[in-house]
Amino acid sequence: MGALAEIVGTATWEALPPSKRPGHILLTSTMGMSDCAGYAAVVADAGTVHHPVGSDAPVPLFQIDGVRELRDGHILAATPRTGVVRVLYRPESRHNVLFATEMCNSNCLMCSQPPKNHDDREALLERNLAVLRLIQDHPPQLTITGGEPTLLDDGLTSLLSVIRDRLPNTHVHVLTNGRRFAERHFVQQVAGVRHPDVTWAVPLYADVPWIHDHVVQSDGAFAETLRGLHNLALWKQRVEIRAVLQAHTIKRLSKLAEFVQRNLTFAEHVAFMGLEHTGFAVGNLPELWSDPADYQRELQQAATLLANAGMSVSIYNLQLCVLDRSLWPFARRSISDWKNVYDSACSNCAVVSNCCGFFEWNLKKHSRVFGPIASTA
């Protein structure tokens, strides 16, 4: 890996004195690379004409559309080989994510981040550690996701240790299938970081292995995940259970709820999640799609059973108009800001301010009961 494989730096519109330039990426919408020495890179508007980039260019130059959307303090990754600039961190966002790897040991039918076999773990770990070094503010939460973060092995431990030390007040939410936690030495290793505020969010799709394994497309996944969950509990780790609402999981949803209540009492939260129509879910939609209007009773039974038993329950990604009113107390504004949109009809809705709205890519397919609510009377 060459020295210029990827440049990670903090964006600045404001010119900085030379001493402060290292680690910063200058943003500009005009010409002018006269005084750029010392910056990690320069990102400019694609439309403008520039000096050709050559060996005498003071710093790497990137030209992109939408440079004006970038703000001071954003942490960017710029790849010279491709000219691509990514935003890795936004201080003003509540939904910052550290992407651990595209690899996964499962292959869920509805995966919103389809896995790839290319081993990107080392590169991404380096990138994430670079981001962590640059964060100046105190984010209340950071999410670690992928692919499957536990595939990082030692890398996950490193990541958690750095976050623990650099961002002691940040809650870490790790999205994981939990399967590797069936290996006790691995749980011990991770628990050994003693991060004061981590929650492991683990999906469970049924109370029986054949349904769960089919959904995640992997033999033995259910058994490993359950073992993993129990090991996490043994090592006093905080656990959240997630269930995506699709045709295969809905049939036995209240049985799943009871299963969690009886077997996973240590879980601190259960989230029922509306299907995101992206990634694998798109190709598999005919098999997976169930109109929320048709599964309210199952959802109600499941949510009520858990809530009665004292479990904290949430419903994500389902609009208030498609939810039975008795379930409104569980609905959350769950969709990450960068992909959260509302339908034009929503402007007439009395409860839009409490509603999570849609994933961008879900706007195309509505429940038959979607529509603005006239009033909450």
Partner: protein, 512 residues
């Protein structure tokens, strides 16, 4: 720090991303194994219960079909049986370690060493309750009071228990007739238990007729919980619990009010004892509890000890009548809850915890191994130690079978190694009692060798005619029925008794 994993993971995980359909994940089906479970047949269905307390209500004949491997693996029942660990599929075998964890969780509460220590401070009492299980003595004779040395020796024995939490229950007769003893014991226990860093709870069981300001101050300062009797409205309460002036009910209510006002609403709880008179008035009794601003009620049956048996004609022992009373009272209690007033029935709460949750309870009268001697010890005014309160009552009737020693002569070790205790241990696990060992409700119920001895003449007991058995089986069946058919609101109420009020929802949790 190196980013390369120390243990190589086998890549690639998937050669291609072709999706396999559900047929490839089909359970094995026909060759399933049985996991341990028992069943019970009623008129119209069967109840299956497994080794960790999970249950299934199924059509008649299902247990036989399961055993004969006739359950279709496509059916919802097959999935239920696997999920709840009644059977193990040939392909997707049950994780035995997980089942073991659940079995352990269920039994853990019953295996805690002696937490409850009952001190009988005096036999004197100003009441002469018909069902009293203690010999009455006039309020003048101090020879039936526990003296200071005996109290200290009893505390010595108590502190030998390795329990991390100790509940000290001060009883009698009427303990408020010896306030100095109450104060002495609380002070001594606090001082001595603090050395080992144990947590403590104090309970005083009193009729509230002698509640002085000094006592209230003591209770407030030491966070003493007050347990009293309220048998119902005055006409029932006073008839059951005579005293000079026939004003037990007034005094009890006044006492309850003063406790609520000066010690806080949760500081006082009441229980009722059912007599023949009570049987006819379940609704009025429940209503009285609401009227007195009480939020818990314990529907206790008449126990067959002490004066109860002597005055059998007046009080009478009953089986089916009690059950009818219990159901009617419970219905009324549920209605009260539905109207918005929180009222928990304690006996139901104990059973519901066993039915609905993965854990057991520490209620000494309904567990296996029996709580007697193991979960609870009773120190009588004269230093004699008994396995349970019921055992002491038997002694007051002249039968000292359940006496295991005396605090002056014996340590806790001596007491638990006494031949009396060893004999009782033979019959203290319902897993090995005739009738109980095959019973579907075994995990929800318990063993009560003292009860068996008192009512049937031996510690093992004769199950078909045993009142403890009949009562518990009927109540458990009734609760199961309520859960299954009572509807969403009733289920919500029943659950609210099991689980304390849930904390407010977390602030918005987000996902990516």
């Amino acid at each position: 720090m190196s980013a390369v994993p120390t243990r190589p993971l086998t890549l690639p995980f998937f050669r291609d991303r072709h999706f396999r359909d559900r047929g490839e994940f089909h359970p094995a089906g026909s060759g399933y194994s049985l996991l341990p479970f028992r069943f019970l047949r009623s008129d119209d269905r069967e109840c299956l219960v497994n080794e960790c307390g999970e249950y299934l209500l199924v059509p008649l004949g299902t247990a036989a079909r399961i055993v004969h491997r006739q359950i279709d693996c496509e059916s919802g029942l097959y999935a239920d049986l696997c999920a709840k660990q009644f059977i193990s599929d040939g392909r997707y075998k049950t994780d035995i370690d997980l089942l073991a964890t659940k079995v352990r969780s269920k039994r853990r509460a019953a295996l805690r060493p002696t937490q409850l220590h009952i001190f009988v401070l005096t036999l004197r009492c100003d009441h002469s309750c018909h069902y009293c299980q203690v010999s009455r003595q006039s309020t003048a004779s101090h020879e039936f009071d526990m003296d200071e040395q005996t109290a200290n020796r009893a505390i010595d024995v108590m502190l030998e228990s390795p329990a991390q939490h100790l509940t000290v229950e001060l009883q009698g007769g009427e303990p408020t007739l010896v306030p100095q003893r109450i104060e002495q014991i609380i002070t001594a226990v606090k001082e001595r238990a603090s050395v080992s860093g144990r947590s403590l709870s104090f309970v005083v069981t009193t009729n509230l007729a002698n509640l002085t300001p000094d006592l209230l101050t003591l209770f407030r300062n030491e966070s003493v919980h007050v347990s009293t009797s309220l048998d119902g409205p005055a006409f029932i309460h006073n008839a059951n619990r005579p005293r000079p002036g026939a004003n037990s009910h007034d005094l009890a209510c006044e006492g309850i009010n003063r406790c609520i006002a000066e010690l806080g609403p949760g500081s006082v709880s009441a229980l009722m004892t059912t007599t023949q008179l009570s049987l006819r008035h379940p609704v009025e009794i429940v209503n009285e509890y609401v009227r007195r601003s009480l939020h818990t009620i314990f529907l206790r049956p008449l126990s067959p000890y002490g004066f109860a048996t002597k005055t059998a004609a007046r009080t009478g022992y009953f089986g089916t009548q009690y059950l009818a009373f219990f159901k009617a009272a419970l219905d009324r209690i549920i209605d009260v809850n539905l109207s918005g007033y929180s009222l928990t029935e304690i006996y139901s709460r104990i059973l519901l915890t066993k039915l609905l949750t993965p854990v057991g309870t520490g209620y000494v009268d309904l567990q296996s191994p029996a709580g007697a001697g193991f979960g609870v010890l009773v120190y009588n005014y004269d230093g004699d130690v008994y396995l349970s309160d019921e055992g002491r009552m038997l002694a007051e009737m002249g039968d000292k079978t359940m006496r295991i020693g005396n605090v002056r002569d014996h340590s806790r070790r001596d007491l638990l190694r006494s031949s009396r205790f060893s004999e009782m241990v033979e019959a203290w696990c319902n897993e090995s009692l005739p009738g109980c060992s095959d019973c579907a409700f075994q995990l929800y119920c318990g063993a009560d060798p003292v009860f068996n001895y008192a009512t049937q003449g031996d510690i093992v007991g004769h199950r078909p005619t045993n009142e403890f058995c009949k009562r518990n089986m009927a109540i458990i069946s009734h609760l199961l029925n309520l859960i299954e058919t009572g509807g969403d609101d009733v289920r919500r109420i029943l659950w609210s008794w099991v689980v304390p009020k849930a904390p407010a929802h977390d602030p918005e949790l987000v996902q990516t």
